[in-house]
Symmetry: C2
Subunit: 80 residues, 2 copies
């Protein structure tokens, strides 16, 4: 079983890394990019088989430790 | 239109950030985690409507600039 976690800055929060990537893309000639948001991606490999328990544990871990809930949102997905 | 890009270290490459997260999860009492891989997530908002052209341009950008193809893999997905 595997969990995929995407952590992104909240829309209201300044994202200088995204802005930098956007400017770099424009500089390199890639047109039509209106915004870029840069976040983190975590893939967690799990030994258990109980998807509901894994979701609950990881949801808590995301909130407590993997993301900063003040400035970041996260999406958690359990696969397989 | 939006593009979602996930950049992960190749499986053969050492991932110290993932190892650190794995150790921290174990230390905090989260059992059953066999591996963690940490990567980057980019969300690119596009003004155009031609998905095929956008995919081609971003695929090139990923290869040239957004990822390091020596040590990283990327997945590109165009949505909407």
């Amino acid at each position: 079983m595997k969990a995929k976690i995407v952590i992104t800055p909240k829309k209201a929060v300044l994202d200088p890394q995204g802005k930098t990537v956007q400017n770099a893309l424009a500089y390199l000639g890639y047109q039509g990019v209106s915004a870029v948001h840069v976040g983190k991606y975590l893939e967690v490999e799990l030994t258990g088989t109980d998807a509901a328990a894994a979701r609950q544990a990881l949801d808590e871990a995301c909130h407590r430790f993997l993301s900063n809930p003040v400035i970041e949102d996260y999406r958690l997905e359990i696969v397989e």
